[in-house]
């Protein structure tokens, strides 16, 4: 498990050979430097003992707030507050709806994993699923109680922000990338300006812009709530980064493909949809999944503009005065959830990449 490697831009087709295999003892103490490194590694491990004691040996696994006195981690806190961290302020009697939304998102993502199913019908299913999720979360129709977006919180918000921002950003990114690579100088200039402006800014700045400036820029009668504003910021941010990745894919495409399509008289958009995009995207699957991971991690930043995502819920849960300062445990819990999500995506992307490699290299 520890040997999982990540996809870096500099991934090479051939790995350099490792040094020749030596017996373990010689590897560990073969020469002065190896011996020194071994001692160093052991020292680091010894240094982690207090952390291990805190997390396991001295930890409190059962009981209420009163049981958590003294040193050691207070894992009972996580058990008691898991609902608050996972669902935020969502009304308890409607939490089954938020649960369904989580299950629906995970199911949709799992279904979409197979490259065989990637077609227009899948897009339609996604659109329907997202509409269903929004109805479930918001309610107000079909006899479901209305829940305003200010009451949404926790994991469903994190997942919805990630899926929606990536989904909305993708078509935008394709347009920006095509514009930047295209023949029209005006489109090139606009795309270049938008991409570089957004990429030059920190996401925190963009979130401020969305939270503070958007209400000023739009007509007074248009009210966009906080969640919508942060979604807008995340979308434009993701679009700029995805556009650069897709541009890389377009650059890697052989010019002959486009020339042949033009010679055959295939209309521009048909050529893009059937010939250019499928090949370009296949070339950039590793950086695309990396961008997806980055965007999932970025959803945690909405805490800064006061959206009640999983991290904000954890933070507010740990301020409960009944418990003795369990914020470290709460953040570890949130970190574990993010880790599971992002790590599974990176494993999947490796698998996908190997599939592509197997198909193209025989």
């Amino acid at each position: 498990m520890t040997d999982i490697t990540f996809n870096t831009a500099a991934d090479a087709p051939q790995k350099p050979p490792r040094a020749k295999r030596k017996p373990l003892l010689k590897l560990l103490f073969g020469d002065l430097l190896s011996a020194f490194l071994t001692v160093l590694a052991v020292l680091i491990l010894l240094g982690l003992i207090p952390a291990f004691n805190w997390a396991v040996l001295d930890a409190h696994w059962v009981g209420g707030p009163a049981a958590c006195q003294g040193g050691g981690a207070c894992w009972t806190f996580i058990g008691a507050k898991a609902r608050l961290i996972l669902f935020g302020l969502y009304p308890p009697q409607a939490q089954w709806r938020a649960t369904i939304v989580i299950v629906l998102i995970v199911a949709m993502v799992l279904v979409s994993l197979s490259p065989k199913l990637w077609n227009a019908r899948l897009l339609l299913v996604w659109a329907l699923a997202i509409a269903a999720m929004l109805v479930l979360m918001g309610g107000g129709v079909l006899g479901l109680d209305y829940v305003p977006t200010s009451k949404w919180g926790g994991l469903p918000v994190t997942l919805l922000l990630a899926v929606l921002s990536l989904g909305l950003a993708f078509p935008l990114a394709v347009l920006l990338a095509l514009g930047r690579r295209g023949k029209l100088p005006a489109a090139r200039a606009i795309s270049f300006f938008v991409i570089e402006l957004v990429r030059g800014l920190p996401l925190v700045g963009l979130l401020f812009v969305a939270a503070i400036l958007l209400p000023l820029l739009l007509p007074p009668e248009w009210t966009v709530d906080k969640l919508g504003r942060t979604l807008a910021a995340l979308t434009i941010f993701a679009a700029a980064y995805l556009a650069e990745v897709i541009r890389g894919g377009l650059q890697g495409l052989d010019d002959g493909q486009i020339e042949a399509a033009e010679a055959l008289g295939i209309p521009y958009w048909k050529m893009i949809w059937h010939i250019v995009l499928p090949q370009a995207i296949q070339n950039v699957i590793p950086p695309l999944t990396n961008t997806a991971i980055v965007m999932i991690k970025n959803t945690s930043l909405v805490l800064i503009v006061g959206v009640f995502d999983m991290l904000s819920a954890a933070r507010s849960a740990s301020t409960d005065p009944a418990w003795p300062a369990p914020s470290t445990e709460a953040y570890l819990f949130v970190a574990a959830i993010y880790f599971i999500i992002c790590f599974s995506i990176s494993i999947y992307s490796r698998h996908l990449e190997q599939g592509v490699a197997a198909r193209t290299h025989g």
């Binding site: 520890t2 040997d3 999982i4 990540f6 870096t8 831009a9 500099a10 991934d11 090479a12 051939q14 790995k15 350099p16 050979p17 490792r18 040094a19 030596k22 373990l24 590897l27 560990l28 430097l33 490194l37 590694a41 052991v42 805190w54 029209l184 005006a186 489109a187 606009i190 990429r199 030059g200 800014l201 920190p202 996401l203 925190v204 700045g205 401020f208 812009v209 503070i212 400036l213 000023l216 820029l217 007509p219 007074p220 991971i293 991690k297 930043l301 805490l303 800064i304 991290l311 933070r315 300062a325 914020s327 470290t328 953040y331 949130v334 970190a335 993010y338 880790f339 992002c342 790590f343």
Partner: protein, 382 residues
């Protein structure tokens, strides 16, 4: 007329005019809305507020700030904090990242596993979660000053922050510092000159020796001048430490978080660069009978540098942008100052424009510098 419709040129012109026209209309519409909204809320616009006194505190800064200073100065103080934070975390993360990258590639089983776990865990957890985690440790798990942890002599970890020995400068110190800097350069150059043409360990030993001689000379000089430069260790007095240098829990958390998070990414970039150097280079070097370490530092790393520099540039840039996350733990860098100013004055558009301008110029100058460096590396190698 019909031929005009089918003409490629005419169509592309029409398309571009439509695009630009649409953009102009869109911006016009936004500007109109903004004007209407601002007059409705009675918010003044313009940059003259910059010269009014700010009247809010900034909890820590590397340059002097007082609540009676102007808003402009408050921005400068925030920017200085941002740059200081970026500089320090980039420096530390590069050193740590190099160690992580080399460890992952090493044949040493313990070390490479260890580095693998480190990279995997840190890259898959959002930075802001890590920052809040370190901050929670610094403010809740660290002991009170009386029972402070003491990992190194003179360094104390407590709930009030990290205390470390500080340099104290007496009269005549600046003169001594200048002399010491010149002597240091001479010592290093002399170390290299003396061992010219020798093997790497000999070189390292020679440079190390001359730096030791330098340190002795500086201490002796300092004694001659009546100790203008000294070290002052923090000492426990009453409920807290006095003296020495103090890092607030906020600063300690953000610098720890940024350094560790970035080092995982830099480690991967360095490993990727090493992996991308052609296999034949290893084989050739081994065939010549060179040692593994020699191959790495003399043959592989110099070539890997060409591959490493571009992704490293974007990593450095995103580290600079990531400093804005210090908002989450309350370290007053530019983002936090901008946010405070907006809350105080309502001058949102101006403040955000300033922030955009600052970050765009940082981005552009860092990439310009790295492009220059990249060109240099490319020249040296070829």
């Amino acid at each position: 007329m019909l031929s005009l419709w089918y003409s490629q040129r005419a169509r592309s012109w029409a398309m571009q005019i439509a695009l630009l026209g649409g953009l102009v209309l869109f911006v016009w519409w936004l500007a109109g809305n903004t004007h209407e909204n601002l007059t409705e809320r009675g918010i003044r616009t313009g940059f003259d507020y910059l010269w009014r006194p700010a009247r809010f505190p900034i909890s820590e800064s590397i340059i002097r700030y007082d609540a009676s200073d102007s808003f402009f100065w408050a921005y400068v103080v925030g920017l200085a904090n941002t740059l200081w934070l970026s500089f320090l975390s980039i420096l530390l993360a590069t050193v740590l990242g190099l160690a992580v990258g080399l460890s992952r590639r090493s044949a040493h089983p313990l070390l490479s596993r260890f580095a693998g776990v480190y990279v995997t865990v840190l890259r898959n957890v959002p930075l802001i979660v890590q920052l809040l985690f370190w901050y929670a440790i610094a403010t809740s798990l660290f002991p009170v000053p009386r029972e402070a942890l003491n990992p190194l002599p003179g360094v104390f970890l407590s709930i009030r922050g990290v205390y470390a020995p500080a340099l104290t400068l007496g009269p005549g110190a600046s003169m001594l510092l200048i002399v010491a800097a010149i002597l240091l350069v001479i010592a290093i150059v002399a170390g290299f000159k003396l061992s010219a043409g020798k093997r790497l360990p000999v070189k390292a030993a020679s440079v190390g020796l001359s730096v030791c001689v330098w340190a002795g000379a500086v201490v002796w000089l300092s004694g001659m001048l009546g100790h203008p430069i000294g070290l002052e260790a923090p000492a426990l007095k009453g409920l807290n430490f006095r003296g020495g240098m103090v890092l607030s829990p906020e600063f300690a958390a953000i610098i720890t978080g940024l350094t560790i998070y970035t080092s995982a990414f830099i480690g991967e970039i360095i490993r990727g660069g090493i992996d991308a150097v052609e296999k034949g280079q290893w084989e050739g070097a081994r065939a010549l009978g060179l040692g593994e370490r020699h191959i790495m530092f003399r043959i592989i790393l110099p070539q890997a540098l060409r591959i490493i520099v571009p992704p490293m540039t974007s990593q450095y840039l995103s580290t600079v942008k990531n400093t804005t996350l210090a908002v989450a733990v309350g370290y007053p860098e530019l983002g936090l100052v901008v946010n405070t100013v907006i809350n105080q004055t309502g001058q949102a558009i101006e403040s955000i424009l300033i922030m955009l301008a600052v970050f765009l110029s940082i981005s552009l100058s860092v990439s310009a510098f790295m492009n220059w460096y990249n060109a240099r590396v490319a020249l040296v190698v070829r």
